[in-house]
Amino acid sequence: MNPLFSGQANLAFQIVILILLFVSLSLKQRRKYLAHGMTMSIAVVLNALSFLLMMLPSLLNMEIVKTEPFRSVSIAAIAHASLGVVTVVFTFWLVASWHFQSSTQNCARRKKMMRTTLTLWLIVLLLGFALYYFLYAY
């Protein structure tokens, strides 16, 4: 596969996930909690696939992270990867603890964690866009 195409495909994939996140948030605003949970779960699975298929191999190929870890691109890649892993773990934890229940009682207790996870996710996405720009478009 052409690496440039892989990068572009992953970027498109991440934009789809971002749209899905906003759709899910709007569903929550309209108190459609089950639909909110379902769309978030889809976003979590898509993000995990994107991480394992595209971003992890790409990170492992970035020799500059090992040879020059204090360069701006290395710092951005390490920050993106480490915050990304934390976000993936948080999202999986949230989806697993909700486990597709129609009741919102359990979810209300995790409101703080959900907000933290969403903030982290958006930061990771922004870092990812910056990294894409540096690696493929700058």
């Binding site: 596969m1 052409n2 690496p3 440039l4 892989s6 699975v45 995990a48 696939l49 394992l52 298929l53 595209m54 191999p57 790409s58 190929n61 970035m62 020799e63 500059i64 040879t67 691109v73 999986f92 989806v95 697993a96 603890s97 486990h99 597709f100 229940q101 540096f134 690696l135 493929y136 478009a137 700058y138």
Partner: protein, 152 residues
């Protein structure tokens, strides 16, 4: 609890299947071909490298050629890509004797070294050898003509 277990098992199976389905994903450069050619007394290499993208923040910056134990490297700048995402670099090896085997590698600023391209360099006749051959053939020709004239 059963639902949680089911979801956890499904998630683990999905992750495992994804991990084992290794993707063909590589950004490291690739030395596709090396063609040696003579220029005066030197041997030049026409090195074809595959790498995309070639942009100021991400490009192939070094071509390294190893002959026996001697490694020499050529630092290069961002190269214009052809339609097949390759570019060519001319590398001056200097005078080469015999048919040595060379190792050629390309280094990307971000992704590191490519796999080695390994191949032999053919022996090219040097100008001195050509001059000697020319002198020898001229001498033989002149000798034959002189011999004919003497017979006549």
């Amino acid at each position: 609890m059963n639902k949680l277990l089911t979801i956890t098992v499904c998630a683990i199976l999905t992750l495992l299947s994804v991990v084992f389905a290794k993707p063909a994903f590589a950004v490291v450069p690739e030395v596709r071909n090396v063609i040696p050619y003579p220029v005066d007394v030197s041997t030049y290499l026409n090195v074809t490298v595959y790498h995309t993208p070639e942009i100021p923040s991400h490009y192939v910056n070094v071509i390294m050629v190893t002959l026996d134990t001697n490694s020499t490297s050529l630092t290069i700048d961002v190269q214009p890509l052809k339609s097949d995402d390759t570019f060519n670099i001319q590398y001056d090896m200097g005078p080469i004797s015999g048919t040595p085997t060379i190792h050629v590698e390309a280094h990307c600023l971000i992704n590191g070294w490519s796999a080695e391209w390994i191949g032999p360099i053919p022996e090219y006749p040097t100008p001195a050898l050509l001059t000697m051959l020319f002198a020898l053939s001229t001498t033989i020709l002149v000798f034959h003509r002189v011999k004919r004239r003497i017979r006549k």
